[in-house]
Subunit: 243 residues, 2 copies
Amino acid sequence: MVLSTGKGSLPLYLQIKEMLVAKISGGEWLPSDLIPSELQLAQELSVSQGTVRKAITELVENNILVRKQGRGTFVANHDTQRALFHFFHIVNDDGVKVLPNSRTLSCRRKRATRLEASRLQLPSGSSVVSIERVRELEGRATIVEVITLSADPFSNLIKPKACDLPNMLYELYEKQFGMTVHTAEEKLRAIAAPKRTASLLNVPEGSPLLEIERIALGLDRTPIELRISQCSTVKHYYQNTVF
Amino acid sequence: MVLSTGKGSLPLYLQIKEMLVAKISGGEWLPSDLIPSELQLAQELSVSQGTVRKAITELVENNILVRKQGRGTFVANHDTQRALFHFFHIVNDDGVKVLPNSRTLSCRRKRATRLEASRLQLPSGSSVVSIERVRELEGRATIVEVITLSADPFSNLIKPKACDLPNMLYELYEKQFGMTVHTAEEKLRAIAAPKRTASLLNVPEGSPLLEIERIALGLDRTPIELRISQCSTVKHYYQNTVF
DNA sequence: TAGTGGTCTAGACCACGAG
DNA sequence: TCGTGGTCTAGACCACTAA
């Protein structure tokens, strides 16, 4: 890797940042790997420690790297904690986040609807994997989810028995498929409970539900997953903090 | 101001950060004021430019200061743009944020309900200002809002005719009352439209609405405003991006 | 004790904005 | 042209971790 230092070129620290992201999204460095020390990188790249430091600082702020004083810098491990605290916004009436249980109803291959194809940026009619599941919070069926994945990287998902899909799918995508979910874009609406959801959640048909359409994006902003969640907000709510 | 440099003390740059925030939330520096240059602050505080720089960098990341190359560093101006883009999450079906129009229905003084008092951290039964208004998006009545403010700093709000309250209240709080809204905590639920809201929004009673309960917090995290918005999500939705 | 990140310094040069 | 923030260097010392 050679850094360019001319006039019209990006600042060194941004070039280094891109290089580090490439190592991670290219699979050379895996989640929870220790990366070379700041001094080592600085020597390899013939820049000062401060310049490497600035690149790493921005990646730490993006939750892509994690610094541990005295130990080194690691590729972020987007595990249960992160999935739960960053991407799961449903809390109980006391404002406490509780881990949901999931029961998978089906997991099969099908052709993408127009919506699914467009959200996942696939050609219309592409083959996708579709998962339907019910999530319980504090013993109460609260969320019905329909999850759509491009069949291309994820076709192996259908092979295991449908029922043993893990609760935290993002962890699975990362460990089994090397797809790290880094960002999510959500659209929220209030809807009237459709028949099937109503019966799964044990609420009257037509009662108000919170519908969340989420696109999960990778480190390089490729769409990974489309997830439509229909949530009863009788005993829980969606929490968001804006800075 | 003297910085402490002993063992158990905070890093210098954090002490400087606190000092700068104090100047702003204390009213010594007002929104869109130019603050002293990095070099000048460094000399006054007897630290290096890099240390001041680190403090300022963090405040820029928090949207409290704004840097302008060649000109200087300014106190952030939390004006229309910011209010619109940071705190307003309702977009139309094309994902486009549109400026709402507001029609104020009432603006009066009353005693806080238990909920209002607890959210605003006031003694129960305190005097508060309560505003009710309807907001139109793209010509369509979409949101009914009930806004509650502590009467103590805000009692002047009742004096003008109720109808000429501005559309962007956070700008008013900042300019008229020196209260800058920096953070908001939102709780979202789906509810069945109550009678009054239904008639204001021209939807059937009981139809699903998105209810947003928002607490707006100041720079020092004091609660400033409680706002309950009931939104029709037929032609619009609530948008959120998670990193 | 050796190696890591965390803080801090004192300087250099560049890019930009205003007069 | 001058002062600002933006980038970059080469060092110093501290705090923490692991061997």
